[in-house]
């Protein structure tokens, strides 16, 4: 054992940490794994750490959401208009109460407009807002004037309408195009099939015609699916816009929004 320790170069304790927690590069993991298989000294050490890991796992917490109970988070006031601090329960109930009693302030409307804009733009562009994307705050600040926001919301609505019309038009144009093109090719292939006397050639032509027909059906189905999916998405987005608009209008006009003042696409 002592001769083994003398001759082997043991990895430093800290080198084992990425290995222990599964964060090693493949090459490094292989090197360490090989070392582990041939070195009882390191194998014992790593086994000890793994035992600690599994022992640590015995300390489980009950759900903090349930355990946290009625205490909550207190966001400090920062300006005169925000002078009433908000008490927030873990389940958010207190927040809802505050939100309602605040009478849907102008602040709420502006915030909602910004959120609406971000959401709608993401719908239109397929931009998925994710943790990997970090908007430039300075740029965002520049774009926050009320006029710009109002203009953006209007633009988003117009753009949605345009997108929907474009898609509908494309579908109307593409379907006959696919069918006429398929028909042209199939007619040519049938002529070629009749003209040919070679059985092997005839077989190939039949196979090609069959493939063309299959492709035609697939293309038509894809187009239908795309149109249905797009239309469903437009409806869902419109519903979100309605909901948001209803939630951010003064309470007196809420009914009017839902009944007859819906955004038009």
């Amino acid at each position: 054992m002592s001769s083994e320790l003398d001759t082997m170069q043991h990895p430093d304790d800290s080198e084992w940490m990425p290995f222990l927690y599964g964060e090693c590069e493949d090459a490094q993991r292989n090197v360490l794994q090989r070392h582990l298989e041939s070195c009882s000294h390191c194998a014992t050490k790593v086994a000890g750490w793994r035992n600690v890991q599994s022992t640590l796992d015995t300390w489980t917490l009950e759900s903090p959401r349930a355990a946290a109970g009625a205490t909550g988070v207190h966001v400090p006031a920062v300006a005169a208009k925000d002078s009433v601090p908000v008490r927030l329960n873990h389940d958010g109930s207190q927040f809802v109460e505050h939100h309602r009693s605040a009478g849907r302030s102008r602040s709420s409307l502006m915030t909602a407009s910004m959120v609406l804009t971000a959401l709608a733009v993401s719908f239109l562009t397929g931009w998925q807002i994710s943790n990997a994307q970090h908007p430039d705050i300075a740029d965002l600040k520049k774009s926050l004037s009320a006029d710009v926001r109002a203009s953006l919301v209007a633009d988003v609505r117009r753009e949605m309408q345009t997108q929907f019309q474009t898609l509908t038009t494309d579908k109307t144009k593409l379907t006959p195009l696919i069918e006429s093109e398929s028909e042209r090719i199939i007619t040519a292939r049938l002529a070629s099939l009749q003209a040919s006397s070679d059985p092997e050639e005839k077989l190939k032509e039949r196979q090609m015609i069959s493939d063309i027909l299959a492709n035609q059906i697939t293309l038509r189905n894809d187009l239908e699916k795309l149109a249905v999916e797009a239309e469903a998405q437009i409806i869902r987005t419109r519903r979100e816009l309605l909901r948001l608009e209803a939630a951010t209008r003064p309470m007196a006009s809420e009914g009017a929004v839902l009944k007859g003042n819906a955004p038009q696409f």
Binding site: S14, P18, T60, V75, A79, V115, N131, E229, Q233, E240
Partner: protein, 193 residues
């Protein structure tokens, strides 16, 4: 249209990244948007602070303080950085501060009075006894070792993320984690007799 359909039924705020929401918070000092961030992260942060402080009461104080600090210092959040890295750093510091202010160090929820009387292998002990040993052993770790261990083992953060949160080199995270595990191993063995 490249629209993620699975997102269509989510709430508006659910669709926004932390960083996008922070951009609004910074630009408008918007408490309501910040509250959505609180809702999103407070459970996870409370759990982390519970591990760091050893008890739920201090954890809740720490999280309360962390979010208050974050909102007050919102202008210091840079758009190019990750919200969670920034928020976790504030929460870790708040957890340490709460404990120091309480002037009682790490205090577990309910430490048993006669831990030293327990004998036998940790693996063979009743679950409750093992848990109490774990809490006691963690309580005795220095703050800098405990925080690395909690962030990696219980919060399941990557070592690189921990390095960013604690603002220390990656090698330091490795060495602290190794030291924490080694100390825990020795302590758990001694508790086991």
């Amino acid at each position: 249209m490249a629209i993620p359909l699975e997102h269509s039924s989510a709430t508006l705020f659910d669709l926004m990244s932390d960083e996008a929401m922070m951009a609004i918070v910074c630009a408008r000092s918007d408490q309501e948007v910040f509250q959505q961030l609180v809702l999103r992260w407070q459970v996870r942060l409370t759990e982390m602070c519970h591990r760091l402080t050893g008890n739920l009461h201090d954890a809740e104080d720490a999280v309360q303080e962390a979010f208050s600090r974050a909102f007050t210092a919102r202008e210091q959040f840079r758009g190019g950085s990750k919200f969670t890295t920034w928020m976790w750093r504030i929460a870790v510091n708040s957890a340490h501060d709460v404990r120091r202010r309480q002037a009682r160090g790490y205090q577990a929820d309910a430490l048993p009075g006669e831990l030293a009387d327990h004998r036998g292998s940790p693996n063979g002990m009743e679950g409750e006894e093992v848990r109490e040993h774990v809490k006691l052993a963690l309580a005795e770790l220095p703050d800098d070792l405990r925080e690395v261990l909690v962030l990696r083992h219980y919060q399941n953060l990557k070592l690189r993320e921990i390095s960013d949160i604690l603002n220390v080199p990656l090698g330091t995270v490795y060495s602290r984690l190794a030291e924490a595990l080694s100390r825990l191993e020795r302590r758990l063995q001694s508790l086991n007799g």
